[in-house]
Amino acid sequence: MEDQQQDLIPVHIMGKRYMVPPTLTIVKAMEYAGYQLIRGVGCRGGFCGACGTAYRVKGDPKLYFGLACQTVVEPNMYLAQIPFFPAQRATYDIAQMEATPATFFSTYPELLRCLGCGACTKACPQDLDVRAYMAAGMKGDIAEMADLSFDCIMCGLCAARCPAEEAQYNVAILARRLYGRYLAPRSPHLAQRVEEIEGGQFNTRLEQLKELGRDELVQRYEARDVEPEERG
């Protein structure tokens, strides 16, 4: 890569102009410019939501959003890493709740203030329809909110843009947890296995396996039957 002669492009980081290679992501461009990042960087793989960023390009009135670790620089970008956006979060005991709309509204009463403006949807770097999941929430449809918000990485960009001061992602995780604990159908085979384990059913077999020497283990391992992959 290094020996490839690249033309550098100008970007503006916190108001200062730097020349960087055009193939870099925003995070790597800032590092190329000499910044050792602490805030606004996390997993560097698009999963942790630490590097949500807003930027402008010279001559273009639009404000753009993205994850700094996944967005490639463009000439004349104006960049700044925004720290995690502060947002209201309720404290609750998931074990003592009921998965009903009432629980939902009493935990986050401000949910009903959503104006349906869609500023959140425009900002979401995961391309979620945030307004739609908030609308599901306002209808009290916990399952739908859980489903529509599932890919949320809790970056906070939606909250940063919301005129109604919502903390969309915090409401959404409550929906998912209520769904997971109370509304998702239970798994009969899991319940059965938990009971067996608690009854000590596999203890002897495991003890026996632990006693086996290497050769015997290798033999049993090689002789395992492998469940066929289901197809279709």
């Binding site: 050792q36 942790c48 998702a184 159908p185 319940a191 596999f202 203890n203 495991l206």
Partner: protein, 535 residues
């Protein structure tokens, strides 16, 4: 924008041409003897010039990658004369690391009656746990059992795993799935509640549970949310990595020195017990490999624990994940989840031919990819010179029907579409990437170590997976051992009395380095890699 350049498109046509025929072609699994030959010749762990033994400490003589040895033999941040008489806070159990293991430990330590502080390097949840996509193993289907799971784990680990640790792992597995579900985690399920479970590399039963391809994120955000709900009893301190453990005059762990990452100020947090849950070390870029790991994965826990006399093990084996992204350059080394192969995508070479069974244990699969490129010259080379092989993702929808990829791999689709690649229609170029630290600090099945008061959980530990971890067993490990270590630490703390805190072990460490004449020029733990150009 983006997409594949013309030279690569040409090879894609070969992949398309063989696809129909490959649909019914099963490439045979590799016999055990051939596996060993392949590893010897092509796996990075077996390249002698890139490995060395460490020269100091209780595990001296242990072989590991050069980059790790240099960090382990590094000099401490603070001197033995650091002032311990003005502690900042105080607690029963101090948890170092805010990933899946740390969060699990925090919850269970608190439930066991302890006051808890969790201190972490960046934000709570900026962790490898958050990035895990594929799934978590647990033997909960009727045709499966913890005993079968045991065999898979130990065979995958080349029969070198610690049997007690494997036993705890597989037996607790269904209990942990149940625990996560009660905390509100959303697993993939059939309409009747049956868990959707698939194969992973090296599994003999379908036992890979998932939450779309955000499995780790779903675990992490659920645990984190629960920790926040208990803010009265669990205090979370962010942007504050630990840099050294503190012992007391009896040699018992009595807290840690923590650094405020922004102010670069150090302070002491006394604690009756410590759970080390700092995760792995991919950001040390062993042998120059790119990595899937998060920014703060720099093997800090191994460094700190070792200076207090904890034993290390299995660090001679690192896991190189076979399918790191090899194109485009911007996401080089980032993970293409194994679930992609689990769903039916085959690895194929430049000519569009299969060359390895798609789901061998990871070390074997990775070595086979390297052999195909470096040894046989059948790889594809990108415009920046990066070699790779194809992963034929469009097969997935031919097998399972249209929409399967969007449904099961949304994170993957998003990742590649940002760079103009549609994985439902085009294959992905992949090459091994540094993924997981198989080894680390030795522990007992209750999470304890040979140092009183020091407990270990998660990727920082060594022994559970032997010399090779199977996919889905480390999300399992972090929850199983996070819970175990949290419980043990809380119980230990109940009776523990703090003696006189001391950094005498730091002085001894420096002396030992001096005696042996070791100076790697590194101050460790290193906390963050330095990617700035001006160095």
């Amino acid at each position: 924008m983006g997409g594949y350049p013309a030279e690569m498109q040409e090879s894609i046509r070969h992949v398309e041409a063989t696809r129909m025929h490959r649909m019914d072609e099963t490439y045979p699994r590799m016999p055990i003897e051939e596996r060993q030959r392949l590893l010897d010749d092509f796996h990075p762990d077996y390249i002698d010039e890139r490995m060395r033994a460490i020269r100091v400490g209780v595990s001296k003589g242990q072989r590991m990658p050069l980059e790790l040895a240099d960090v382990i033999e590094g000099r401490p941040h603070i001197g033995p004369d650091f002032n311990l008489s003005e502690p900042r806070a105080e607690t029963d159990v101090l948890i170092i690391g805010g990933g899946g293991a740390g969060a699990s430990a925090a919850l269970v330590a608190q439930e066991s009656g302890a006051r808890v502080i969790l201190t972490t390097k960046l934000r709570f949840g900026d962790a490898n746990t958050m990035m895990a996509q594929g799934g978590i193993q647990a033997a909960d289907r009727p045709n499966d059992s913890p005993a079968i799971h045991y065999l898979d784990v130990i065979g995958g680990g080349h029969f070198t795993n610690d049997p007690d640790l494997v036993e705890a792992l597989v037996r607790d597995a269904p209990l942990v799935i149940d625990w996560l579900e009660r905390l509100g985690m959303m697993f993939d399920k059939e309409p009747d509640g049956t868990m959707v479970e698939r194969h992973g590399g090296g599994t003999s039963r379908m036992r890979m549970h998932s939450a779309r391809d955000y499995t780790g994120a779903e675990i992490m955000r659920t645990l984190r949310d629960e920790v926040h709900n208990r803010e009265d009893q669990i205090r979370v301190v962010e942007f504050s990595p630990a840099v050294e453990l503190v012992l007391d005059d009896h040699g018992h762990v009595s807290g840690a020195i923590v650094m405020n990452l922004e102010l670069k100020a150090y302070f002491y947090i006394p604690a009756k017990a410590v759970v080390m849950a700092t995760g792995g070390g991919g950001r040390l870029h062993f042998q120059g490999f790119p990595t899937t790991n998060h920014y703060g994965a720099t093997a800090d826990g191994v460094v700190m624990a070792y200076r207090t006399g904890a034993e290390l093990g299995y660090l001679e084996s690192m896991q190189y994940h076979p399918t790191g992204a090899a194109f485009p350059e911007q996401i080089l080394g980032q993970l293409v989840t194994e679930k992609t192969r689990g769903l039916g995508a085959q690895p194929v070479n430049r000519a569009g031919d299969q060359f390895v069974y798609p789901l061998e244990p990871r070390d074997v699969e990775a070595a086979a990819f390297i052999r195909e490129c470096q040894g046989r010259g059948n790889g594809i080379v990108t415009p920046t010179g990066q070699p790779g092989v194809w992963l034929d993702s469009p097969m997935i929808e031919m097998i399972h029907g249209p929409g399967t990829i969007a449904e099961n791999l949304p994170a993957m689709v998003r990742q590649f579409s940002r760079f103009g690649i549609d994985m439902t229609k085009e294959p992905l170029l992949v090459y091994p990437t540094l993924h997981y630290q198989n080894g680390g600090v030795r522990l007992e099945a209750d999470g304890s170590t040979r140092v009183p008061g020091l407990f270990i959980a998660g990727e920082v530990s060594g022994g559970v997976h032997g010399h090779n971890r199977l996919m889905g067993n480390s999300l399992l490990e972090v929850t199983v051992y996070g819970r175990r270590a949290g419980r043990s630490a809380a119980h230990y703390a109940q009776d523990a009395k703090l003696g006189q805190p001391s950094l005498a072990h730091v002085a001894r460490w420096n002396e030992e380095l001096n005696d042996v004449g070791v100076d790697t020029g590194v101050t460790s733990p290193i906390l963050l890699p330095d990617y700035t150009r001006v160095t």
